[in-house]
């Protein structure tokens, strides 16, 4: 844990996505219950899928131990993956909502 080449960008990605919505897009996504419920369901599926990809016994994806916080939960999932997933999915949902607003 020195460079945090994954931890820092993952945190920044989440902050950037939230800043874009709150400061600029104003789609109202964060006020929709359906969004938060969807994120919970996505999280429920991320755990088995990501758990499979990152399992230390036979990993599909390997991380440089110096670039992550070292916190891996649940299974062997680097916690940074949850920030990465949140940013990716939320960014796409924001663009989806943005096109609803335009109509």
């Amino acid at each position: 844990m020195t460079g945090l080449g994954y931890t820092v960008p993952a945190i920044l990605a989440v902050l950037a996505v939230c800043a874009v919505e709150l400061g600029f897009l104003h789609t109202g996504l964060f006020r929709r219950g359906a969004y938060w419920l969807s994120m919970l369901i996505v999280l429920g599926f991320q755990i088995p899928v990501d758990g499979w990809l990152t399992k230390l016994s036979s990993p599909v994806v390997r991380y440089d131990a110096h670039q992550i916080s070292g916190l891996r939960f649940p299974f062997d999932i680097p916690i940074e993956d949850f920030l990465f997933g949140f940013a990716l999915v939320t960014a796409v949902l924001l663009r989806w909502e943005q096109q609803r607003a335009r109509r």
């Binding site: 969004y35 419920l37 369901i41 990809l53 599909v60 390997r62 440089d64 990716l88 960014a91 796409v92």
Partner: protein, 106 residues
């Protein structure tokens, strides 16, 4: 052996499991332009992140579990598809949840 197909099979499973959600509400695949406009620009940004992370060896892929094709510069084809497949699954989930929440409110 199926090992090199592992990552692709995981992505295929995600698409298969979420596909039935398309029948709910206005759907996602039935709005192809909206789908592509939502997914592609974000996929491009995350692919750039991926290229940098791979080049800097922040993460790497186990050659035993990928088919060996990649896009320039170094991103495996599976990872490229990940940025389209996972957002599509998330949109299908959001579409389904939104539709059901609307039903319950009526």
């Amino acid at each position: 052996m199926t090992d090199p197909w592992q990552y692709l099979l995981v992505l295929a499973a995600c698409l298969v499991i979420t596909a039935p959600l398309e029948i709910l509400g206005p759907g996602v695949y039935r709005q192809p332009r909206r789908l592509l406009r939502a997914v592609l620009p974000i996929a491009a940004v995350f692919l750039l992140w991926d290229e940098i992370a791979i080049a800097a060896h922040v993460w790497t892929y186990n050659n035993a579990y990928i088919v060996g094709l990649s896009i320039p510069l170094r991103v495996p084809i599976e990872e490229t598809l990940f940025f389209v497949v996972i957002p599509a699954c998330a949109l299908l989930t959001y579409n389904a949840v939104s539709t059901i929440v609307d039903w319950l409110r009526r």
